[in-house]
């Protein structure tokens, strides 16, 4: 694998994370538990779609095969999407959406802090813009986790269940393979295994304050980075790709 191939693959993975989660959040539009959350969730979805767009644009340039950001976002088959399993999980109730976000935001925060120092200037520039958004997202999901965990008995039980259901997707955030090894050696991306301890500590601090607990079993799933997904992704892509598949080659 060349450095260029590794970079393309990495950008695709991160772009897919943002696109798929942004898409999931956009499903909340108009259905939030309070008006302020309709605004907040839509805003976060918008940030994520914006991040995905920047990453796909760069990926398309790195690949240099005449594809553009929309071709990458809309015209791959399911097995070619490389997002982590966490982001494709269904929204569930508002609490589940917040827990999914909590697990994701805390990882992104640590990652993008480091990506700002990437030797790849384009990635460093994207990270510098993105980190400002992530700082807002992490505050939002952390505060809601605490509020719901330490709110009523019902809210506690609901989010506790979501913590249990979603925690099996967190280790995959730290998945690394040859793609990562090549880019770490080049100083383009950080070695995320170095901040796993900090991630666990940060998540635990929020969950402690929320009076929530991580489950004891250490069962973890992965596969997303190799394009082996949960059954949920296919349906999401069916909607996402509807226009591009029905009207091939048209401009919108």
């Amino acid at each position: 694998m060349t450095k260029q191939e590794a970079l393309f693959e990495y950008l695709l993975r991160k772009a897919d994370d943002s696109l798929i989660l942004g898409h999931r959040l956009s499903e909340w539009c108009g259905h939030g538990p309070i008006l302020e959350e309709d605004i907040a969730i839509t805003n976060i979805a918008l940030d994520l779609i914006g991040q995905a767009t920047e990453l796909y644009k760069y990926a398309a340039e790195v690949e240099d095969k005449g594809r553009d950001e929309d071709d990458l976002a809309f015209l791959r088959i399911e097995r070619e999407y490389k997002n982590v399993l966490l982001v494709e999980q269904t929204n569930g109730d508002f609490g589940k959406t917040m827990i999914r976000q909590l697990f994701f935001d805390h990882f992104e925060h640590l990652l993008y802090e480091e990506l700002m120092n990437s030797k790849d200037e384009r990635i460093a520039a994207i990270a510098t813009k993105t980190i400002k958004e992530i700082k807002y997202h992490i505050k939002h999901s952390s505060e809601w986790t605490i509020r719901l965990g330490d709110g009523t008995e019902e809210s506690h039980n609901r989010v506790q269940k979501s913590v249990r259901d979603l925690s099996r997707f967190t280790k995959e955030l730290f998945y690394q393979d040859e793609v990562d090894q090549i880019l770490i050696a080049e100083g383009i991306i950080p070695d995320v295994s170095k901040f796993k301890v900090e991630y666990d500590k940060n998540i635990k601090a929020i969950l402690d304050e929320a009076t929530l607990e991580l489950p004891n079993e250490k069962w973890q799933l992965d596969g997303g980075r190799k394009g082996v997904h949960s059954e949920h992704l296919g349906y999401l892509l069916t909607e996402l790709q509807y226009m591009q598949r029905t009207y091939p080659g048209m401009k919108w």
Partner: protein, 317 residues
């Protein structure tokens, strides 16, 4: 209060209005003025909130990244407008949650246009172009409304609505100059939305119960028919520019008046949708009710947490 005292207050109130001095929340205002504003502003807020739904219907199917982002931004703006408008209602002493319950019970109305379904991507263009276009015609004069908080909220709302109208027209333009399939999609969408858009201005002046009083109070600056004519005059040349046909065989430019003459609105359809029997009335209200019911546990948790926190802070201090 004595009658002559009230008469004097009412006279001072109307003098202010006649002199274009804004009425502010703590100023004296007749009950009927307050009630009219609560009704109008809360209906306006509800329209923004319900109006998220027909667009949210396409956000997961937007054809490319840019359109997806723009649509999200537009829906977010609408939720934001709802928020300012509910705040403006609260300055009149009304309770936001009560006005929302009135919506869910069918007591309060919202703009009937949102009771039509969004069936194709072209509808995302047409809704921006016609629906936001018509809303701007209604709302620009509201920036000069006699009630200060409403007028000020409308200044910001109108800036954003004008962006929405432009992006809608851009979507439709892109389709109109696209493939035959895309152009047909745009024309079909215009055919479905044109008449409901004209209905957004309400009944003819002769049948409008609130217009005369609202004009005297300077809540309203133009009659329904005046606004509708302004909209037709502005929109017909835009359709011509991009090669789409307005679905009205009676539409014709009148050299004498300098305005477009246009056909009769189907008032039976208008009243039917207003009364709750349009294609999506049930679904729209049901979706909003469901959002409120599903979110109950979240709001209860937020309140319980806020109370616990306040109690802890009190203990600590």
């Amino acid at each position: 209060m004595e009658k002559n005292k009230i008469d004097a207050l009412n006279k001072a109130f109307q003098d202010k209005i006649d002199n274009e001095i804004k009425i502010e929340p703590k100023d004296y205002m007749p009950d009927a003025y307050r009630k009219t504003l609560i009704r109008q502003i809360s209906q306006h807020a509800h329209s923004e909130i319900v109006g998220q739904l027909p667009e949210a219907n396409w956000v997961t199917r937007a054809p490319n990244l840019r359109r997806k982002a723009v649509l999200l931004a537009k829906i977010q703006d609408e939720a934001g407008h709802g928020l300012y408008l509910y705040s403006a209602v609260e300055t009149l002493g009304a309770d936001r949650e009560q006005t929302i319950d009135d919506l869910h019970e069918g007591i309060a109305k919202y703009s009937s246009i949102f009771n039509y379904p969004t069936l194709t991507w072209a509808d995302m263009g047409t809704v921006g172009w016609l629906v936001d276009g018509a809303a701007i015609m209604n709302q620009v004069p509201l920036c000069r409304c006699s009630y200060g908080p409403y007028a000020r909220a409308m200044v910001r709302v109108c800036k954003e609505e004008s962006f929405h109208q432009r992006q809608g027209f851009e979507v439709v333009t892109q389709l109109a100059k696209g493939t035959p399939e895309q152009k047909a999609m745009a024309q079909d969408s215009l055919n479905r939305w044109w008449w409901p858009a004209l209905m957004m201005f309400g009944p003819n002046d002769a049948d409008s119960t609130h217009t005369a009083q609202s004009m005297e109070w300077k809540i309203k600056r133009h009659t329904n028919d005046e606004l509708r004519q302004m909209f037709v005059d502005a929109t017909v040349p835009q359709a011509e520019l991009i090669g789409l046909t307005i679905p009205d065989k009676d539409l014709k430019f009148n050299e004498e008046t300098g305005h477009y003459d246009f056909g009769e609105i189907d008032w039976d359809e208008f009243w039917q949708v207003v009364k709750g029997y349009g294609p999506c009335n049930e679904e729209r209200v049901a979706a909003r009710k469901k959002a409120k019911e599903d979110g109950l546990w979240v709001r209860e948790a937020a309140n319980a947490y806020a109370e616990k926190r306040a109690a802890r802070n009190k203990k600590a201090s």
